[in-house]
């Protein structure tokens, strides 16, 4: 939201700080939810191996909102503005990264409800991640082909890599979800 409505469309967006606060709030909330899930787990008859796996999964999932927060803080602290010639590509990169996260949510729900389709969802996330990698490489190449200030080039490259990390993290978690599912298959 912050990325799309503010720094891509309107670099002077007044709501940017508000969106950062919101993101930070949600990021903190994930930790509270993790603690709550840990408490619930001890009340259930889960075997320790499963408990360990769920705790690992929570830690892995927890890294994703942190990545969003870090990107926004980076934009805010470094006063980054996006040059017009890469706006569309970055928008596409963000869209696919968020789609990866949405697919991951579906996959995690499928794991706990045992509703199937986990391997297919992993396949979709992997495809999206490799798509993100391609866009990421293309944007970086475009940035270095441009005439903008070399220091800004490095800043933007750093930002693009950070955005690219979202789909990488989603793919990592998705693979772990798939392993959890395989471990339980008899």
């Amino acid at each position: 939201m912050a990325m799309n409505s503010c720094f891509l469309n309107d670099p002077e967006c007044e709501n940017f700080d508000f969106y950062i606060k919101q993101t930070h709030k949600y990021e903190n909330k994930t930790s509270d939810i993790s603690d709550e899930i840990n408490n619930i787990m001890y009340g259930k008859t889960l075997i320790p191996d499963s408990r360990g796996d769920i705790m690992k999964l929570l830690n892995k999932i927890d890294t994703i909102p942190r990545l969003f927060k870090d990107i926004l803080y980076m934009v805010q602290a470094e006063r980054l503005t996006i040059p017009d010639f890469i706006v569309d590509e970055i928008r596409e990169l963000i869209r696919i990264s968020i789609e990866c996260c949405e697919l991951l949510i579906r996959q995690t729900v499928a794991l706990f409800k045992n509703s199937g389709g986990i391997r297919t969802l992993l396949g979709n996330i992997e495809t999206n991640e490799s798509h993100c990698d391609n866009i990421e490489r293309r944007i970086v190449a475009t940035i270095f082909d441009s005439e903008i200030d070399p220091f800004r080039k490095l800043q933007l490259k750093d930002l693009i890599e950070k955005i690219g990390n979202i789909s990488d993290a989603a793919e990592g978690v998705s693979k772990f979800v798939n392993i959890m599912s395989l471990k339980r298959r008899v």
Partner: protein
Amino acid sequence: MFSLLGGIFMGWSLGANDAANVFGAAVSSKMVKFHTAAILASIFVILGAVVSGYAGIETLKGLTSFGKEEAVISSVAAALAVVLMTAFGLPVSTSQSVVGSIIGIGILNGQLNFTGMGKVVACWFGTPIGAAVVSIILYKVLAYLYNRLNLNMFESDALIRIGMIIVGSFGAYALGANNVANVTAVFVGAGMLSAFNAALIGGVSIALGIMTFSRPVMETVGRKLVMLDPFSSFVVVFSLGITVYFFTLLGVPVSSSQAIIGGVLGIGLIRGVDTISHKTLFSILTGWFLTPFIACLFAILINYIVHLQYVPHR
């Protein structure tokens, strides 16, 4: 009572070591608390001994004829063989040790029941093989049913945990029923105990071993089983229970450790992985041949020492 000490020690050592085979996986993976496992195992071992332990007692006491002295020598020799082999880090089976010492007594008194002996030895070979076959069949059938249930993680874990408690208790029952003969059968043969008292004393001494000293063994042995996934360890323990109980019905005491090795081997075969090392196979062979040989030797040696007489020179 003093003369029963060899047998009671044997029971204690059996409880301390073999309870790990039935509840080790559940305890070391923390699915079941040690105290819960120890109490359940003790109750079911005693129940198994008292309710179904008589066939094994009949078989062992029928292998030779015993006097009171021979019964004591036999139980002490078997216990010593177990202690010595454990001290040297050699794998040992109480069932095979007891039969070895009985053979020693049989050799001494020239009354060895070869038919009974053949049946016992055949069952030793049949234990790991039988357990492997049972675990393969069980795995196939239970996996089919388990997959059809389509359980989520919480339901599946609850089912496995309850299943482990049930098959562990069944395994303990089978262990008590099968192995109580190792502890006190020779005393029944010598007329020192009634079959009921022998089963009760045997069961209680095994339970004593479980309550006092089985925890470290459960943790160690169980950890090896936990290398398997929870469903497979459940199948292995279940196949142990079925196999040992089957041999209880035949009246032959067998090794629960060898049954569990067979069960793990079966899972390995079905899943196409090496679950059993050459070292483990060597331990089975040692159990089959070395243990009875040493126990037999001890029985003959102790008998010789007991009958040494001091003849003063004139």
